[in-house]
């Protein structure tokens, strides 16, 4: 399953993915790269949990799963003197269309994730951890199982880790095909052996998580960044990026570029640079549009993207979200109606069906876009699309509703003329869809 070598070049700024060649994923290799030094340091110095959380706060590490929530702050929410088990959960249910970075972490650098989770356990006084792995990546699951076994064998997991009085148990949980399980509370339900239906919040996982116990959930990449921060300090991590946007970030570049793949760059790097790393536009075509943060993020016109930097705040300013760092690039041969159709179908298929607006609305949206794409569009459809999207957004238990509404609203906003053309002429404005 090793991809062609050039895909292991994550770029000059890489820290999480530095020095990876696809086969040096084992414990010994990781340790040779300085792996588990952070954990050893913490245990040797009996570092105070609060000190670790303080470093994270300094680092301005923000959640890599989509919401971009400050990680240090999230960790500080865990009840301190709670009696009984507390849990740390890693969200490796990478299913947001366009996102494929966590898979690389799991297969090429699994111990970085494990070490990050152990440190999380230590910092939050948790006793158990689970890594919930996307159903479609079975080989990565098996590798994670091997890596965890290695860690247990080396005394890095289990009771009295490295002879300390800190005990922590970690296991991998395999999903079976449900995008919604990426949503943290759906993930917890799924972890409990139920349908992945999101829970109403409050209560938040920090007070009522898996099995009703205090739980903190972070993305794979978030955990993977933690050891580096402990080793080099929060300030160093912050310095890599920009204020409030610390560190490097893995971007999954897909679509009409020469070299689709993952690239790790400093937050604040310009989109143009990232595009260049991916080899530029395929066939030298012009960029028409880009979805900068996974399919749930609003689409932006190409020129807007070309003027934007890749960090949470800049992309927000440009009118979208950095999200999971999935950059989907579309060139000028792409039909925006057909592209939206594909996304709408995805959310329709993946809605868990629990709450009314999402269950009923995603199907409605898809059917309308489908009619437009197939020359059955009506003039009232464009307004209907927007008001139905408005009736879904913000009215549901979880953010899938918003995720389904966002593309519809942004596509019809930035490319309304293309939709109108489809409705009027019953076919595409662009010649072909290759």
């Amino acid at each position: 399953m090793n991809a062609p070598a050039e895909f292991l070049d994550y770029g000059p700024d890489a820290i999480l993915m530095a020095g990876l060649n696809g086969s040096n994923w084992r414990l010994k290799d990781y340790i040779a790269r300085g792996g588990y030094d952070a954990l050893k340091k913490i245990l040797a110095e009996k570092m105070a949990p609060d000190a670790i959380i303080a470093e994270l706060k300094k680092s301005a590490l923000r959640g890599r799963g989509g919401a971009g929530f400050p990680t240090g702050l999230k960790w500080s929410f865990m009840p301190k003197n709670y009696v009984g088990d507390k849990y740390v959960v890693c969200n490796s249910d990478e299913g947001e269309p366009g996102t494929f970075k966590d898979r690389d972490l799991l297969r090429y650098n699994p111990h970085a994730v494990i070490e990050g989770m152990i440190i999380g356990g230590y910092a939050m006084g948790a006793t158990r951890g689970y890594n919930y792995i996307h159903g479609e990546i079975w080989e990565e699951y098996l590798r994670s199982e091997e890596a965890v076994a290695e860690a247990y064998a080396a005394g890095l997991l289990g009771n009295n880790i490295l002879g300390s009085d800190f005990s922590y148990h970690l296991h991998n949980h395999h999903g079976f095909g449900a995008y919604i399980c990426g949503e943290e509370t759906a993930l917890l339900e799924s972890l409990e052996g139920k349908k992945g239906q999101p829970r109403f919040k409050p209560p938040f996982p920090a007070s009522f998580g898996v099995y009703g116990k205090p739980t903190t959930i972070n993305n794979t990449e978030t955990f993977a960044a933690v050891p580096w921060i402990i080793n080099h300090g929060g300030d160093a991590f912050l310095a890599l990026g920009k204020p409030n946007n610390g560190g490097t970030k893995l971007f999954s570049v897909s679509g009409d570029v020469v070299r689709p793949g993952n690239y790790e760059v400093k937050l604040g790097t310009s989109f143009a640079t990232l595009l260049q790393m991916a080899g530029g536009m395929r066939g030298g075509r012009a960029i028409k549009a880009c979805i900068p943060g996974g399919s749930s993020a609003p689409v932006l016109p190409g020129d807007v993207m070309m003027a934007t930097d890749m960090d949470y705040d800049s992309i927000a300013k440009a009118g979208s979200m950095l999200g999971s760092g999935a950059v989907i690039v579309l060139d000028d041969t792409r039909c925006m109606v057909k592209s939206l159709l594909r996304l709408s179908y995805f959310y329709y298929e993946e809605s868990c069906g629990q709450c009314t607006p999402c269950r009923e609305g995603t199907g409605w949206l898809w059917r309308m876009v489908n009619r437009i794409e197939h020359g059955q569009g009506r003039n009232e459809d464009l307004d209907a699309l927007n008001s139905v999207a408005d009736n879904i957004a913000g009215r549901t238990i979880c953010a899938l509703g918003d995720a389904a509404a966002m593309p519809v609203k942004s596509f019809t906003k930035h490319f309304r003329d293309e939709f109108q053309y489809h409705i009027d002429h019953k076919h595409c404005i662009v010649p072909t869809y290759v």
Binding site: M1, A3, F7, D85, E94, G95, E96, P97, G98, T99, F100, D102, R103, R128, Y130, H134, G135, E136, I137, W138, E139, H171, N172, H173, H174, G175, F176, G177, A178, Y179, S190, L191, E192, G193, K194, K195, G196, Y211, S252, V253, S254, G255, D256, P260, G261, N262, S295, A326, I328, V329, L330, R334, S339, R342, L343, F346, E349, E350, C352
Partner: protein
């Protein structure tokens, strides 16, 4: 219904969770059961329910919620092709079309010889490797140009002829 080997696999999963949380193992239990039986018949789900002490209907809920569980017999090799937007932009739909014409079936159909079932998959978290597909939920194949698709289909076709792959249409039910 659940072979000794299957029970061992399930027990290993059960051990990952707190003693009073056996239900957490239901997803992997169903997965392994599917590997063994090819699909999840009512009997299989009943057996899993009994083994984990769950209400049968709760198991049925789980089995029907997650898309990778087969609720009816499949071909020996179930091929799920990703046609999500990012993949579509890099040949996902071309690959799907190629497989349809090569196997003479559409999505959710099974070849007459019971060797192949074709499925439309949602994002597999591997968009960079498009076109991508998964064989029997476990084996992901990347960069599937038409040439590589032909190789794969030949390889699996021969395997099916040798009776390899999962119990499918012919043998199941």
């Amino acid at each position: 219904m659940l072979s000794a080997e299957l029970q061992q696999k399930i027990d290993r999963e059960v051990a990952k969770y707190p003693a009073d949380q056996k239900q957490s193992a239901v997803m992997s239990a169903l997965g392994f059961a599917q590997d063994e039986h090819g699909w999840l018949s009512t009997d299989v789900m009943d057996a899993v329910a009994g083994y984990l002490g769950m209400p049968p209907v709760a198991v049925y809920e789980v089995a029907t919620f997650y898309t990778m569980y087969n609720m009816r017999p499949q071909g020996r090799f179930k091929i799920s092709v990703c046609t999500g937007l990012p993949c579509a932009l890099s040949g996902g739909e071309v690959a799907a079309a190629h497989l349809k014409s090569k196997l003479h079936i559409g999505f959710n159909e099974t070849t007459a010889d019971g060797a192949f079932t074709l499925k439309e998959g949602e994002c597999m978290g591997a968009c960079g490797d498009a076109p991508v597909l998964i064989v029997n939920d476990r084996r992901m194949c990347s960069f599937m140009s038409n040439a590589r698709l032909d190789e794969l289909v030949d390889e699996l076709g021969q395997a099916a002829a040798r009776g390899e792959g999962r119990q499918g249409h012919g043998d199941a039910t």
